[in-house]
Symmetry: C2
Subunit: 135 residues, 2 copies
DNA sequence: CGATTTAACTTGCATAAAGCAAGTTACTAT
DNA sequence: ATAGTAACTTGCTTTATGCAAGTTAAATCG
């Protein structure tokens, strides 16, 4: 699993595929918490892939899975602190795409604006929203 | 190729695999410019994969390929401005791994320190190093 | 209470991407 | 002229992704 002792390589060992960061995005930015909500994402991940990615993210300790006390069919997926700490990476990806927008992207301009004015504050507010589940 | 109009998804459409960002890292942080130098990286990319990744990064306009005037066997790979703009993403990956270091990573402490003190200045200096090729 | 839905998966099979070893071509150095 | 180097490509095997259908347990509906 660890290809080298490079910190970038290490991050990519956990996140370097087409789906992991989209799942993190759904949890961190869209407040999704259930398997079916995650499956309903715009990009359309196959159910077996979602299952395997969730398992690997859980193994990497980026998220946790816990049964919903109110509905025993349901599992609740939550970001760990390490998972929440991926917010800056997500933000930089948004800013990069905003800057190099091929023209058809849905850029959240307010967020880009806040990032320019008060990056630290924005990240704090995004994290607070995760913690308080106020999406 | 475009899975959705989400900016994060867009970034991952170009970079979401195990190798692309390592190649960008080698160009941006280690000053590598040739095929053979890139192939010599710690992680050991297979030559056919390196070839296909370079082609896709070039197609995504993150790097350019140009013949070396001094040695006609040689091709020089360089980051475009869009490629250089990936520096913040690389930096955040380093910071994330530094914070969640599994214990065996080679963390550049000086860089982590500078990021904490003067992030914008650090990014400016890293970019300047690329432009002046002073590695 | 039994029948239908819903949630969270798993299984089996097809296709696409990654990885390995060897080979090719054009140029450079000896 | 000969040997080496740089930048690849080719053929084959292995692994990962993707699709469609099926399973299980719990909740809801009539």
């Amino acid at each position: 699993m660890n290809r080298s002792d490079c910190p970038i390589s290490n991050a990519l060992d956990h996140l370097g595929d087409k789906w992991s960061l989209l799942i993190i995005r759904d949890l961190a930015l869209f407040g999704k918490r259930s398997y079916s909500a995650l499956q309903g994402s715009a990009e359309g991940i196959a159910t077996n892939i979602l299952s395997s990615r969730l398992a690997s993210l859980e193994a990497s300790q980026l998220l946790t899975k816990a049964p919903d006390p109110a509905d025993k069919r349901r599992q609740i997926y939550r970001l760990t602190e390490a998972g929440k700490d991926l917010l800056p990476i997500l933000l930089e990806m948004i800013l990069w795409s905003a800057k190099h927008n091929p023209g058809d992207l849905a850029i959240p301009d307010d967020l880009v604006q806040m990032a320019a004015n008060d990056r630290a504050g924005l990240l704090a507010r995004l994290r607070e929203r995760i913690d308080s589940d106020s999406f």
